[in-house]
């Protein structure tokens, strides 16, 4: 799994590539929590994710909860059909703010 963080206006965007599973989700978790502390808007680009398991989804739920507690905005975009299927399988798709791409996310966020 590869993770990078970049700035996009007043937001930070976290880019992830590869598999997010029990072995790799702790790194994603610490990156997202660190980025969330620094900005009011945090986006996660899921377009490069080949696989995400329930520990990855749980990580995103934790970050979402923390963002709500801090009155910050955490949003997702770039869900591939395979990743979207996991979100639907875990019944969490409606819990997140999900956009088709970064442009749509930045317009709405």
């Amino acid at each position: 799994m590869k993770i990078s963080v970049r700035e996009a206006g007043e937001a930070k965007i976290v880019e992830v590539e590869g598999d997010v599973d029990l072995g790799t989700s702790p790194e994603l978790r610490s990156t997202l929590f660190a980025a969330l502390r620094e900005v009011r808007k945090l986006g996660l680009n899921l377009a490069g994710i080949r696989y995400i398991d329930s520990s990855g989804i749980a990580t995103l739920l934790e970050v979402l909860k923390d963002s709500q507690r801090m009155n910050k905005d955490f949003f997702l975009f770039g869900l591939t059909p395979a990743v979207e299927r996991v979100f639907r399988l875990t019944h969490v798709i409606r819990i997140f703010r999900v956009f088709a791409d970064e442009h749509e996310a930045m317009e709405s966020a």
Binding site: D19, L22, T24, A58, T59, K65, V86, L89
Partner: protein, 142 residues
């Protein structure tokens, strides 16, 4: 007498280390495809078994990486049977599918995925270890 057909029987022994999860996923997905499931089902079956393995690593071995997990995939007349054996703590049945579906609670998603994907699932603590059994049947051809 009907001819005896040799079905596939795959056995894999792995340490309880998450580094090996991609290896198992890499074996199960093409196996399911060879059996006749479509891409979407193959991904779902792979994920369900990945979740079952991750649960053993987290809950039976509590993150220890030196435990042993045995995985068996056996072709049956109408699908695949998966068996996982471990020698960690027995499964806490009160926590299986205890999470409310659709809520924002982070934990407890894995057992719901397994239940939704597989046709039959059982968790047993036996004298020889903990046994997880899952059956996935091929859709019937109309």
């Amino acid at each position: 007498m009907p001819p005896i057909r040799a079905g596939l029987h795959l056995k894999l022994v792995m340490p309880s280390d998450p580094r090996y999860l991609p290896v198992v996923r890499g074996a199960i997905c093409p196996l399911a495809a060879a059996m006749g499931w479509d891409e979407s089902d193959c991904q779902a079956i792979t994920m369900a078994m990945d979740e079952a393995l991750a649960n053993i690593i987290r809950h039976a071995y509590h993150g220890r990486t030196d435990g042993v997990i045995e995985l068996e995939c056996r072709e049956s007349a109408d699908g695949l049977e998966f068996t996982l054996w471990d020698h960690g703590d027995p499964p806490d049945k009160s926590k299986i599918c205890a999470r409310q579906v659709g809520c924002s609670q982070p934990g407890g998603l894995g057992t719901h995925i397994i239940k939704d994907v597989m046709d039959a699932v059982s968790y047993q603590a036996l004298p020889g270890g903990n046994r997880f059994l899952a059956v996935k049947r091929l859709p019937r051809k109309i």
